[in-house]
Amino acid sequence: MTNETNQIETAVSPADAVVETQPGPDEVAPSNRLEEEGEIAADYLEELLDIADLDGDIDIDVDHGRAAVEIVTESEDARSLNRLIGADGEVLDALQELTRLAVQAKTGERSRLMLDVAGHRQARKVELTAIAQEAIDRARAEGADVSLPAMNPFERKVIHDTVASASLVSDSEGVEPKRHVVVRAPAQA
């Protein structure tokens, strides 16, 4: 059903995107562009929070060559933002998708911006790193491939990164929404 391009695993060269001619300096430094992405995203999300009467502030950052935007709240009722995360983060993913499109509509370039809500992705990342480590240990101990449950692109990326830093190899197999990571057994010595 879905044949999405995996924007996390497949880096999209900005050169492929249509760039609209803009007045001003010929070349904008990448970090400036990422900051601009963050600001456009913040405007888009702030107005949404306003309309939906949700309590939240927007943090903008640049992380590993991407704009990183997070909706945070100081309110006691952190649960009010939970609806922006949804089951398995599906609302968060949808909102990230729309935010990237909103950035693209303004800049004319594809955005790889990462959106988080109330630390959800960060917390999930810690969990996933532990899952990856367990799979790495098993692949080494048993000398066999280890298949993990289906995960979204963000989650698979965390697993791949953890596996790579342990000098093992992993692949994604299957089709969304059942796409999952397989951690390969280490080559026999």
Partner: protein, 79 residues
């Protein structure tokens, strides 16, 4: 509120924000939001394999306090 939220979300991702129109209707089975955009923006709002329309539905569904909301993208050309 939902119609305003949808209008804002759509206006942000199209080339012709002033042509975006959202109408809200109450059906027996719940609310229906109809989105009309400039024909040249239709592809943007639907997205590849309907991915963008699906994202809009997911977010609007999450913001709805009163159950299911249907979101339809209306192709103005075909009316």
């Amino acid at each position: 509120m939902l119609a305003d939220a949808l209008e804002h979300l759509v206006r942000g991702i199209v080339d012709h924000p002033d042509d975006v129109e959202v109408t809200s209707r109450t059906l027996r089975r719940g609310d229906l939001l109809e989105v009309r955009v400039n024909p040249s923006d239709l592809g943007r709002v639907i997205g590849r394999s309907g991915r963008t329309a699906r994202a809009l539905r997911t977010v609007i569904g999450a913001l709805s306090a009163s159950g299911a909301v249907r979101v339809d993208v209306v192709d103005v050309d075909r009316r």
